[in-house]
């Protein structure tokens, strides 16, 4: 995995990196078993390796296609854009990184939000995209999530959140940290209105996103192999000099330690969310 400048707090990394070819593994090569696929094969299999079950990352748009009933997703707040409140400049200006991310992903920021139906049930839907600056959360992600909570409360529908994030976006400084309580209070208000939140954690969901809205679902689902630690494995290893367990921070470990209600294969995610929408329907 290449380094992502949007990441904060953690060094997200695969625990089992593929053998790089020409110094860099092809995105369609399975890092678990080395099988290689055409784009259409991977799309067909929901980006799950048919050989070994490895869950590749999927972008927000594709995730929505996998999850929502065809033609039901209506995006909201598409126009929101990050600004550069601090005039942040490291080796490159933040504004340049933003522009580049928008061009490479076609997204305005690291979250796509809207309304959808899943298995015939209306819901709010927010999906993060790790491709946009490591899925980092700045003011736009926080605002989109908070508005999605408000819409869900208004609509009387559950909110389904699919997270994929390296944490808060440090280029927005302390305001990025403030997106943690911002999303948290939004969920509190949603809950008080009688609403519900189904939280899906995908690889990776770490740091500020794990420490806020992703952990506050009424039900928490995770995809197999998803890293879901607050601090990343590299930081933990460096700070503590402890030997990390092989499944450090992965969904399977988190499930054992009581943090996840269910680990759900991607092919089962839509029926599982559909079932939960039926259960949380207060019609």
């Amino acid at each position: 995995m290449s380094s992502e400048p949007g990441r904060v707090d953690v060094e997200v990394e695969s625990k089992r990196p593929a053998e790089p070819v020409d110094g860099k593994s092809h995105p369609n090569t399975c890092p678990e078993c080395g099988s290689h696929y055409r784009d259409d094969e991977l799309a067909q299999s929901l980006h799950v390796c048919p050989q070994c079950g490895h869950h590749f990352r999927v972008g927000a748009r594709e995730r929505i296609e996998q999850l929502a009933d065809p033609g039901t997703f209506v995006e909201e707040d598409e126009d929101l854009r990050s600004t550069d409140p601090l005039g942040f400049f490291d080796l490159r200006p933040y504004t340049e990184r933003l522009a580049e991310a928008e061009i490479s992903t076609g997204l305005g920021d690291a979250m796509v939000a809207g309304r959808a139906e899943i298995e015939g049930r209306p819901c709010g839907l927010t999906v993060m995209d790790f491709g946009f600056m490591g899925g980092s959360m700045g003011s736009v992600v926080g605002e989109k999530f908070a508005r999605a909570c408000e819409r869900a409360a208004e609509d009387g529908t559950p909110l389904v959140s699919v997270a994929a994030s390296g944490g808060a976006r440090m280029q927005e400084g302390i305001l990025a940290l403030m997106q943690l309580p911002k999303t948290v209070v939004a969920i509190e208000e949603l809950h008080e209105s009688g609403g519900s939140l189904i939280s899906v954690l995908t690889h990776p969901t770490t740091a500020g996103v794990l420490a806020s809205f992703a952990s506050l679902g009424d039900v928490t689902l995770a995809e197999p192999g998803a890293l879901m630690s607050f601090a990343g494995p590299r930081v933990v290893a460096q700070t503590t000099r402890e030997k990390l367990p092989d499944d450090f921070g992965l969904a399977e470990s988190s499930y054992r330690f009581g943090h996840v209600d269910a680990i759900v294969q991607r092919s089962e995610l839509r029926p599982a969310v559909g079932q939960l929408l039926r259960l949380f329907d207060k019609g």
Binding site: V140, I174, P181, L210, F257
Partner: protein, 306 residues
């Protein structure tokens, strides 16, 4: 150009908040004067150093100076007493309050014992227990934030560090009581915000409050942890910037040369700040106070439309 003005030109939502300063009048004037100019990179780094100064007063140094009849409460009622977090009951000017604060250690032994002020998830569980006690009895909650961050260890992760930080924020968002958070040293990221979701957030003049440590930011963006000064200058963890961005509600002045130079005076100033903050929120109905608290966080951030 001052940050505030620049922000107002960025368009998008108007998300700026408090500019209130607390403390003695002359200091206040100094502070206002100084705030006319944005802190320089050098001034920011000075705050980073003062915030981490080995002699800087820690939570218990303030507790013994500010609270009477302090009774420390221990344990998470499940596994452990996380000593990186101190909880207790005390009298503030004759009124019972609940105190929750991160606690660093002064010497090597205490540092280890306090885990350098870095809580495990159990520390946040302990904090939430104290919050529930306060809420049950209508005691105001005062928190003191001074941590490099939540502890990044294997067991801490296994015990749910991320979830604990999220739930502690949610607990603070629900409280009916008046709440005042004081950033007294290092306000380190998720580990800090876990106990900082309050009606009023005070920040000492030379405390820092940030989304990541300068070293961590430098390591990622500059690929060189020694570029921490540059990183700090870029993400601006100083009190003036936090006030400008509406992240804290007031700056509490420190003695000349920093809080460690005169802990008694620093404590007096902090106490005055807490009492003033409590005075502002005391009279509100619980529901209204909570509504405003949530609204404050709801609007934090700066953004634009495409």
């Amino acid at each position: 150009m001052r940050l505030r003005e620049r922000l107002s030109k960025l368009g998008g939502m108007k998300l700026l908040r408090g500019t209130k300063l607390t403390g003695e009048l002359e200091r206040l004037q100094d502070q206002l004067d100084r705030l006319r100019e944005e802190p320089s990179a050098e001034e920011i780094w000075k705050s980073v150093e003062l915030a981490r100064h080995p002699d800087r007063p820690y939570t218990l140094d303030y507790v013994e100076r500010i609270l009477d009849d302090f009774f420390e409460l221990h344990g998470d009622r499940s596994r452990v007493d996380d000593r990186a977090i101190v909880t207790g009951l005390g009298k503030l000017d004759g009124r019972t309050v609940v105190l929750v604060g991160q606690q660093k250690g002064r010497d090597l032994k205490e540092r280890t014992d306090r885990n350098f002020g870095m809580p495990y998830p159990e520390g946040y569980a302990k904090a939430m227990r104290a919050m529930a006690l306060a809420d049950r009895h209508g005691f105001p909650l005062v928190t003191m934030i001074d941590t490099p961050g939540a502890y990044p260890g294997v067991a801490a992760e296994q015990h749910g560090q991320g979830g604990a930080i999220a739930r502690s924020q949610a607990a603070m968002a629900r409280l009916s009581i008046p709440t005042v958070a004081c950033v007294i040293g290092e306000g380190g990221s998720g580990g800090a915000i876990a106990i900082a979701v309050a009606d009023r957030v005070l920040m000492q003049e030379h405390a820092i409050y940030s989304v990541i440590s300068p070293e961590g930011c430098a390591a990622i963006l500059w690929r060189d942890a020694s570029e921490a000064r540059k990183a700090a200058a870029a993400f601006k963890p100083d009190a003036a910037h936090c006030l400008e961005l509406g992240v804290v509600d007031a700056i509490v002045p420190e003695p000349e040369d920093g809080a460690h130079a005169d802990p008694d005076e620093a404590a007096e100033l902090l106490k005055a700040g807490i009492l003033e903050a409590l005075g502002e929120i005391d009279a509100l109905e619980a529901d209204e106070r909570r509504r405003r608290r949530r609204e404050k966080y709801r609007v934090m951030g700066v953004l634009a439309s495409a």
